[in-house]
């Protein structure tokens, strides 16, 4: 595990994405301490309404918190309005994916498009050699590695960024544990030191994504309309209130009365079917990735790596089975993976080094 991130170049200009949370606050503070010429920016990503009152990240209060931290560090701070682009690149995609029976991860697209493309364009225009965030990942010598705090590591969400941005990334908290980050925030007296963690999707109030889908798609959208539960042989087992309420591996909200626990094993959006089955039907020996992006040299057929199919799942050893089309990849899993959900990310690692990834198909 590489500990130090990069050798500081005193005076080099860096644009820090400051969400108003403790991690990016500490990131900015550490960069100031290391002698960088730091500019803070908070991205306004969507229209804030009363629906999102005390969200630790992404609300108006958070913009104020970021501004307060920047003021205490004596660095300039700006609010960048990314509402249109974030809406298009992230929220619209989120809604579209659910409407097609998949389970998207908006944070991946936010990193790929918003933070490390749009924000980086601002960094270019501001003559910033570097961009920094409060991500728990370590950028070193053009590679990204898992963050030192295994419970906080965020590399899973970073596979889609452009490879040439990695060299410009500064990741000051990536080599810290969350506790160390908070300790630094307290030592520096940062206003955000004891702010609670944001764990939900920033634009989804109360963790109720269905409400967002209802607003965007309308209550009568196919994804939110009744459809059948079936087993793997096609036998009808009852009805559900919309397949967008389900994800692969889900156990809650399914019909009862079976000898063993049942899980969602597949979603068939065209027939609005939610297929359920016992745990044994959840395991896959194969994974298909689309929209593949590499942050290391491209692996070839036969090469091995580790594949992680969920944020919290253990990576499994895998072998590249096919890579005929440029942005697609088929992996053969040496150990089976449980509940591979289309729309989630399949992320490739070599030890702690992030190699790339794609969207599970």
């Amino acid at each position: 595990m590489p500990r130090s991130s990069q050798s500081p170049k005193p005076g080099a200009r860096v644009l820090v994405a400051m969400s108003g949370g403790v991690d990016s606050s500490v990131a900015a503070a550490l960069l100031v301490e290391q002698g960088f010429d730091v500019i803070g920016a908070t991205m306004k990503l969507f229209c804030y309404t009363d629906d999102v009152p005390d969200r630790p990240c992404c609300s108006l209060d958070s913009i104020h918190d970021a501004a307060r931290v920047a003021a205490s560090l004596d660095i300039p701070h700006y609010v960048l309005n990314f509402e249109d682009r974030f809406g298009r690149d992230v929220i619209d995609d989120f809604v579209r994916e659910y409407s097609q029976g998949r389970t998207p991860i908006p944070c991946v697209r936010c990193n790929s498009f918003t933070k490390f493309r749009d924000l980086t364009a601002h960094a270019d225009a501001l003559d910033c050699e570097y961009v920094a965030t409060g991500h728990y990942t370590v950028s070193k010598d053009g590679n990204l590695y898992r963050g030192a705090d295994s419970g906080k590591d965020q590399t899973y969400f970073l596979w889609g960024i452009q490879r040439d941005v990695v060299r410009r990334m500064l990741t000051p908290v990536g080599s810290l544990t969350k506790k160390e980050t908070r300790d630094i925030a307290r030592r520096l007296g940062l206003a955000t030191a004891d702010k609670k963690e944001s764990v939900e999707i920033c634009f989804v109030p109360d963790n109720n994504y269905v409400k967002v889908l209802e607003e965007k798609l309308g209550l009568d959208a196919p994804a939110l309309s009744p459809g059948p539960f079936v087993d793997s042989s096609g036998n009808a087992l009852g009805s559900h209130q919309g397949f967008a309420r389900y994800t692969i591996g889900q156990r809650k909200g399914l019909p009862g009365g079976f000898p063993e626990p049942m899980f969602v094993t597949r979603i068939e959006p065209h027939e609005r079917k939610v297929v359920i089955g016992p745990a044994s039907e959840l395991f896959n020996h194969k994974a298909e990735l689309k929209e593949v992006n590499w942050l290391a040299d491209t692996l070839r057929v036969g090469d091995t790596c580790h594949l992680q199919i969920r944020y919290r799942s253990r990576p499994v050893p895998a072998r590249i089975a096919e890579s005929a089309e440029p942005n697609r990849l088929t992996l053969e899993l040496i150990e089976p993976a449980r509940a591979v959900a289309p729309g989630q990310s399949g992320v490739l690692y070599d030890g702690s080094r992030l190699l790339g990834g794609g969207i599970l198909n």
Binding site: D37, I63, I75, P76, Y78, A125
Partner: protein, 393 residues
């Protein structure tokens, strides 16, 4: 880091520095020996009360009103709210129409107050304006015929500096016996501005646009019966604005209004010369720049310019890093930029409206400041145009 850059403050329409004479006048009221509460019966209270009375006289004299018509507030927005909401409530309770009409180029302090009236069960009408910001006369007459508690029109618009023909509107309102309120926050000290010859019922001013500190303003209320208080409490200021008076601020406002009105002609010439220098040079440097409102009557201290191909949000940021302070559209409380409602109302296309910057001058502004801005603008425009292309906006 932030302090080492050479700076030029060209955002005086957002807030001006405090004038030295004003600071001198208010400092004794911030001195360690203290100041009394104007409501107190003892000598300290009397002294404070006297200071407030003096400021009332200064303001009344300068603006063509009577001292007992001056109601001090925490700023322009509160003065606007007192006139619009308080005026509408008084009309409602007197059995007159519970409806207000406001121009489409009002400050949010008026526009949002009108919407508050609507939420209380009243009616809010937004009057369209022409391309020089003048309220459409037909629309005004139509609204007046339907019956209104009051009309509100901003004397000098804060984003573009357009001057409303308040005298003409006042005459029309008079025909319908309907009170007229004007937000004169950007007008005082910039253009001749008096209630002497114009039948205005309400007028709002703010200290921090004329060299007094932030947090003090006043509403001039011609007829106290025509307005209800919206701040309830101890009954200070004729019962129209409860709450202990901000004595240092009031003293400052009195002096600031007096000086601003006394020196208006001279100051306006200085502002106008700086603005014209800026706009002439800017047109030379950036040939396709558009000066917003250039054809209408404009107050001399504001220059709103649209630069094709830029992103005004990014421009403000880059200019700030180069030490130049200006605004994109109207400053919003989060600091982000929305396309300006005012620019849209005067017919500026949406695309151009999001590419506009407001530069504004005051007494301390020098030609060197303006030149500094002119020196750095071309390089920044090039960079930001590149960014706007990348981001596709």
């Amino acid at each position: 880091m932030e302090s080492t850059t050479k700076t030029a403050y060209l955002d005086n329409a957002a807030t001006t520095p405090v004038r030295p004479e004003v600071l001198d006048a208010m400092l004794p009221y911030l001195a360690p020996e203290g100041v009394g509460n104007p409501s107190s019966a003892h000598r300290f209270g009397r002294e404070a009360k006297q200071a407030v009375a003096t400021a009332r006289e200064q303001i009344a004299l300068a603006l063509g009103a009577e001292p007992n018509q001056v109601i001090f507030t925490a700023g322009g927005t509160e003065a606007d709210n007192l006139a619009v909401v308080g005026g509408a409530l008084a009309a409602r309770d007197a059995g007159r129409p519970f409806a207000v009409a406001v121009s489409a180029v009002e400050h949010p302090g008026v526009l949002e107050a009108a919407y508050a009236v609507e939420r209380m069960g009243g009616k809010a009408i937004v009057l369209p304006v022409d391309e020089s910001g003048q309220v459409e006369r037909d629309a005004l007459r139509h609204a007046l015929q339907q019956g209104l508690a009051l009309v509100s029109a901003m004397w000098v618009n804060n984003e573009v500096g357009l001057i409303q023909d308040i005298a003409a509107l006042a005459d029309i309102c008079l025909e319908y016996a309907t009170p007229l309120h004007t937000d004169a926050v950007q007008a005082v000290g910039k253009i001749p501005c008096t209630m002497q010859d114009i039948p205005l019922h309400f007028l709002a001013i703010a200290g921090h646009k004329i060299g007094a500190p932030q947090g003090i303003g006043a509403a001039i209320v011609k007829d106290r019966q025509a307005v209800h208080c919206i701040t309830h409490g101890g009954g200070q200021q004729f019962g129209l604005r409860s709450g202990t008076e901000n004595v240092p601020g009031i003293v400052a406002l009195g002096v600031a209004v007096e000086l601003s009105v006394q020196h208006q002609q001279h100051d306006a010439a200085q502002y106008g010369a700086l603005r014209d220098f800026f706009e002439t040079k800017l047109r030379e440097i950036i040939p396709n720049v558009e000066v917003i409102g250039a054809r209408g009557p404009r107050a001399p201290h504001i220059s709103n310019v649209a630069i094709p191909g830029i992103d005004s949000e990014a421009m403000v940021m880059h200019l700030d890093l180069a030490g130049i302070a200006c605004s994109a559209g109207s400053a919003c409380h989060t600091g982000t930029v929305e396309p300006s409602r005012v620019l849209t109302a005067i017919g500026i296309p949406h695309d151009l409206a999001t590419r506009s910057l407001r530069f504004s001058v005051y007494k301390q502004t020098t030609q060197t400041d303006v030149q500094h801005a002119l020196d750095v603008i071309p390089g920044i425009v090039n960079k930001v145009r590149g960014l706007a292309t990348t981001l596709g906006r």
